[in-house]
Symmetry: C3
């Protein structure tokens, strides 16, 4: 089994190392893979669609420690979601909602435990990381209680917005690709982009849309930075238009 | 046992990977956690206070490879510090001083070894990483000799300055929190900030100070970037004022 | 044995974690070290000289997963290069050429395998990472066929250009140091730089050239950022002049 991390902590330090140290204290044999540490800052909604797309490609029995938690220290609950065999540990702020909506079988739990010296600003280290380590180790049952998820019915299955920029400046949307988009033009920020099959099938610097390797609609430029070329930001609306419209 | 790294090398490459490769050559079974790789650039003094705060929360028997070393290749000695059971490996430029001052039992050693082909610009790889690996493996004794630390008596216990910005733009100071600060206002760059308990207890974009998860006084903004909002830099002076002053 | 990664994927996410997950699916016991993930963007030529310098210092029996692949999804072949005992897995776009030229014994193979659901934009995850894992595990033979490398005869042994900036703003060139450069001045962007032995042997902010820890000619400034001070970019030409010229 593998424990994946998905956070907005940044990878340089010190928070990711502190998560690892907390896990190391529970069980030194846990295999950790850092999936992503630059989730959209303080944005659980956008992060939720990115997490769902990436998590859908992970092994069927993994643990995911997911922390994008601007409300840390406030009233939001601390959760575990079991979704089609995978376990997700994170805050109750929407971050896990999209996974639940895209899954067949789900079960929600609230974490019914806290350390004596829990900080008010870093539940990732003090609460979620130990919980993930216990789940991995089969020692979590007595620290969980059933939970009734709220607000899922009003949460859209896809998000028609930009949710993430990768290292290259490619812009991922919260829209899962399906065949009906083929041949349609994508409208964003006053630009109209056509579909391309591969980066190298368009000329250098040309912008296009395509189904990315996580199954999402993505806006990219061949060998250049689409974010800068099109002046994009997280939250920008994505729309479609038939060529004949 | 775990080996933690604390450097200003940046995590993208290639220096951190080269540290790992050097350790791998000595002992393939060493467990490594990357605590921090964006220590204040070429600033051993500020780094010293950050390292001491973070190291105080690590397991009691760890090894810490600590490299912020602008004087590499010059005259500064190469050291090992044993402090309350933890071992620190790094340059003699102040980086390890704060740990020593905050510890009960300390012992200093000078590294009495160098490889034949030691580079002049990367002692992290050529000297400190192998040394940390030997310490971890119980093979260091014949490569160390006693050392007399210098200048510790003039080194302050806390540093009344900004020492580090995290991924969110939160500004850490070199001041450890204690109860006497409660209710005081913090003055920085002409701004006066009040204390808050949690990020979510102030409005979005509001700046405040609080005790961070490493026990340091930190300046932050709810869901925004305090560094940018207050135009802060490493080295900016932090002062206190009673509300009635 | 150790598997090293060298890419332009950025380390924050999600691509590096996805490479690790793909390797984890093949063999959970593979030891991975992240050598570099900020190779010059979409620039296999510059990356090739950096990779060759770094790889020459790696253990003699390692696997290197090397992906800088702007032509992904197009016609370029997918290769394995065995060079003096080390194995390199990557695209046929020049990235592996410098290693081949600097090695004594080389053998080229084409990857004769693809997964059913291979993406068009992420062969690192779908093709190269599994291949590297099979090589590591001794399971690759039936997925390789001999390959005839092209264009090597016109590829220079050294590249007289800036190829990479490190975390500090130091500028690496594609030129390997040799003694005949000693005492020569280096010309770049209208600046003339003299040689220095160590960072601390020049004054703060002074720019100089030296042999870096990977054996390349590098331009640096003591405790400051040479890239910014000299306004450098990847591709800038490096030239030499005798002091008496």
């Amino acid at each position: 089994m593998t424990l994946f991390m998905f956070t907005d902590f940044g990878v340089e330090g010190p928070y990711v190392g502190q998560l690892e140290a907390a896990i190391d204290q529970v069980n030194r044999e846990i295999k950790i893979i850092h999936l992503l540490h630059n989730a959209p800052f303080a944005n659980p909604e956008a992060s939720s669609y990115l997490l769902a797309a990436l998590a859908g490609q992970l092994p069927g029995d993994c643990i995911v420690l997911a922390v994008v938690d601007p409300g840390v220290g406030g009233e939001r609950a601390a959760l575990v979601l079991e979704a089609d065999g995978r376990f997700f540990v994170g805050p109750d702020n929407g971050l896990l909602n999209t996974i639940a909506l895209h899954s067949k079988v789900t079960q929600w739990f609230e974490i019914d435990w806290a350390p004596d010296n829990c900080s008010k600003s870093f539940h990732g280290r003090d609460l979620f990381a130990p919980m993930a380590a216990w789940l991995y180790s089969g020692l979590a049952d007595d620290k969980l209680k059933p939970y009734q998820a709220r607000g899922l019915s009003s949460w859209p299955l896809d998000l028609d917005q930009i949710i993430y920029f990768d290292h290259y400046g490619n812009a991922m949307s919260g829209i899962r690709y399906c065949k009906r988009f083929d041949g349609q033009a994508l409208k964003i920020n006053g630009h109209v982009l056509t579909q391309a099959d591969t980066f190298s099938s368009v000329s250098k610097g040309e912008c296009f849309w395509y189904e990315n390797s996580a199954g999402l609609i993505e806006i990219a430029a061949n060998q250049e930075n689409a974010k800068q070329l099109l002046d994009l930001a997280v939250g920008d609306a994505v729309a479609w238009s038939r060529d004949d419209s």
